[in-house]
């Protein structure tokens, strides 16, 4: 079974600075997808970024980028130029065979 580990329950960052959230996973599969989802206080789940495991190039979406290390089974999220609206829970997720597994989440607070 795939497991997803987020070792940082809480993090904080000053507005406009950069923060990196870590995620590791365990799988014997070679083809899979990895996601970062944001969950603001409204509790809606919002897709931040997606990475296909067969792609070596790290995904980027505006201020959000990932550092995908397949051999190390690591998938960290970097948020540049942090904004107050980035304050939320962030969940890392692993998808394979129609089954999405989530990590426990990291609560990120952006401070003014």
């Amino acid at each position: 079974a795939q497991t997803v580990t987020q070792s940082q329950p809480e993090m904080s960052v000053q507005e406009a600075e950069t923060v990196t959230l870590s995620c590791t996973y365990d799988t014997s599969e070679s083809n899979y997808y990895l996601f970062w989802y944001k969950q603001p206080p409204s509790r809606q789940m919002i897709l931040v970024i997606r990475q296909e495991a067969y792609k070596q190039q790290n995904a980027t979406e505006n201020r959000f980028s990932v550092n995908f290390q397949k051999a190390a089974k690591s998938f960290s999220l970097k948020i540049s130029d942090s904004q107050l609206g980035d304050t939320a829970m962030y969940f890392c997720a692993f998808w394979r065979h129609n089954d999405m597994r989530f990590g426990a989440g990291t609560r990120l607070t952006v401070k003014p």
């Binding site: 997808y33 996601f35 989802y37 409204s42 509790r43 809606q44 789940m45 919002i46 897709l47 997606r50 296909e52 969940f91 997720a93 998808w95 065979h97 129609n98 089954d99 999405m100 597994r101 989530f102 990590g103 426990a104 989440g105």
Partner: protein, 112 residues
Amino acid sequence: EPEVTQTPSHQVTQMGQEVILRCVPISNHLYFYWYRQILGQKVEFLVSFYNNEISEKSEIFDDQFSVERPDGSNFTLKIRSTKLEDSAMYFCASGRARNEQFFGPGTRLTVL
């Protein structure tokens, strides 16, 4: 921009009662999912649905749960006899392909 919608936003029920949670996926999507999130815990996969049948389900999705796509637009989750531990946020998600999932805003289920 099209969105997944869910109704009701909050459902309160008595233990032992049946509840039906409703979702309207994005119209051209083919893959449908239900997840739940007990307060303060990680998001957990319940079931995936494609081509009018269940494609994957987790150990949580026991005989008390069922899903249906009754009319080509709605996607429902039924809990036959609710238990206190069914209290959670229930998220519906849909995607055009198996590697994408757009989440709805969730239904908060409270079982008394």
